[in-house]
Symmetry: C2
């Protein structure tokens, strides 16, 4: 007994993590299909000890599955998903293609699983930076109502895929040997540098990555009044996104209550013992499911605001794991 499941974009970082998590979490599967773009056709991906042959992603092929986990990029999602959805396959899409479509639920299972009820065979997985921010903030929002979020991100290169990891490692190695290494994946050198530019620029000089954090927060929390002020920065980190967050709430609370709420919140792990040098860091979050929260403290001038530092594996909770948690909701 089990479900026919397709992973679309199976050779990418997120696709491979999806296969790993499907296996780890023992999702009941009767048939597993792996799809990718034409250039990976005929290669193999791993699923536990099995090897799965990669097929070229086509609407007919993918429609064999009952559930298709998409992480193959916005363009292919836009091209294939509507047709496949019409044939009855339920798609959980990790791209930006359908996130703001009013007919498409945008879901973080810890926060708004009830939105899954009204899907029309396409469900969107939020952006990685939004997911970890809201997993940490929503438990507090439910108690004291969020008014305003100031967020500065410290994003790892893995958010841009395998080539981006290669570019960081290769260019860092070249830098150390005093060799030149012109950037291809990033707009500027990333080795020992910071680039305040992720995705394209939209109006008013916000990047699309920044606007995703605003729009997705409003949609997921069903509250367009929350003021979100984001700045997104690429850092020379391999995996794991970090965020400095200052959040202001409507109601009064104590710091003890914040710790209590976060310590009991689903998907959250508090790591906050400064005297023992314990706080979240990206190198220790790889392969972990949780959103790690530390450096939790009251704003010095506003008793209804807190500062915190939030770190999570962007490939896992920020992408593959969240999608599979959505799948688990759908099949339970």
């Amino acid at each position: 007994m089990g479900y026919k499941i397709a992973v679309v974009g199976a050779t990418g970082l997120v696709g491979q993590e999806m296969l790993k998590i499907l296996y780890e979490r023992k999702i009941p599967i009767s048939e597993l299909y792996a799809f990718a773009s034409a250039k990976s056709e005929g290669t193999y991906v791993e699923f536990g000890n099995e090897k799965i042959k990669v097929e070229k992603a086509t609407a007919d092929g993918i429609a064999k599955a009952e559930f298709a986990l998409f992480s193959i990029g916005e363009e292919i999602s836009l091209e294939l998903a509507p047709e496949i959805a019409k044939k009855g396959t339920i798609i959980i899409d990790n791209s930006n293609a359908f996130r703001m479509d009013p007919e498409v639920p945008l879901v973080i299972p810890e926060i708004n699983p009830e939105d899954l009820k009204n899907h029309k065979n396409i469900i969107a997985n939020p952006n990685c930076s939004t997911i970890q921010m809201l997993v940490a903030l929503n438990p507090l929002h439910k108690r004291w109502k969020l008014k305003r979020i100031f967020v500065a991100t410290y994003q790892s290169v893995s958010g841009k895929g395998k080539d981006a990891i290669d570019e960081l490692l290769t260019s860092t190695s070249a830098f150390l040997k005093r060799e030149d290494h012109p950037p291809k994946v990033f707009p500027h050198p990333i080795a020992f540098n910071l680039i305040p530019h992720i995705d394209s620029f939209e109006d008013e000089n916000y990047t699309r990555e920044e606007m995703k954090m605003v729009r997705e927060t409003h949609k997921i929390l069903h509250d367009p009044t929350i003021k979100v002020s984001p700045t997104c920065v690429r850092t020379p980190v391999i995996r794991g996104h970090s965020e400095v967050i200052n959040a202001e709430f409507q109601d009064d609370f104590s710091l003890e209550e914040v710790f209590e709420v976060l310590s009991n919140a689903p998907g959250v792990r508090v790591l906050d013992e400064p005297s023992n040098k314990v706080y979240p860091m990206p190198i220790f979050c790889e392969g972990r499911d949780e959103v790690f929260v530390g450096r939790i403290r009251k704003d010095l001038f506003n008793p209804r605001s807190i500062n915190m530092w939030v770190v999570s594996d962007n490939i896992r909770k920020g992408a593959a794991l969240n999608a599979i948690q959505i799948l688990e909701y759908l099949i339970k």
Copy 2:
């Protein structure tokens, strides 16, 4: 004609940059003394084409100078500076030792040079993170009055000295060869990582680095009502600190006015053409005098707030250059 000038801590990163800037800016010098801790005694430092023999830092030795530029650490400053000041030498100290002493001016020459009038032979140079933040914000503050600052820093390892640069480079190289390299300078591995912990932890789980940004802002701007909410993070960058800043002002303004004010502000260089991928980045600020400001945009939900991205060479404007600009004020 010229002045007798001592650089105390002459073998360190900041001391060497001080020597370089003294030479570049043609400060009139009749005698130049280089002091350092006992372990560097008898070595030489460069000043233009000359070599200066390093003497062990003692009160009597340093008191030969009319002006002493200190960058030798808080403990030695505390031990030597008061005695040397009594002997008539004017000290410009780069450490945290005297910054909050009400008898000691804390000065950024672009902002509060008038505070130099009342010195009692000790003048403090502010912390690097404070300097670049305030050089960028003060011109706006003078026009529209600052109410609140959220700041998230992305600090380079050079703020912790030469050993820290060595540790970043060596541990990064070890990481790429899959070798172990336990941290010595930093509390955790810094290669491809982020550490939300700079200086020691104080009360309420703010670090001393964060509290410096609060207290120094109040002292330099003579306004303890400005709400400063800082989070300081060490990044795997060699040189140049970066900051995400969201600043709220009391009065109304247009974005055009912000650009105009910043473009004409002393010590500021606006780099903000997103469509051409132009914005400040740490790898391009080394050896530059300016505080670079980019990604300037209105807060999406508060017309009296702006977001911006501020980058500067922490060893130069954040330390050595600022001290020498103070010296220039004193001798002009």
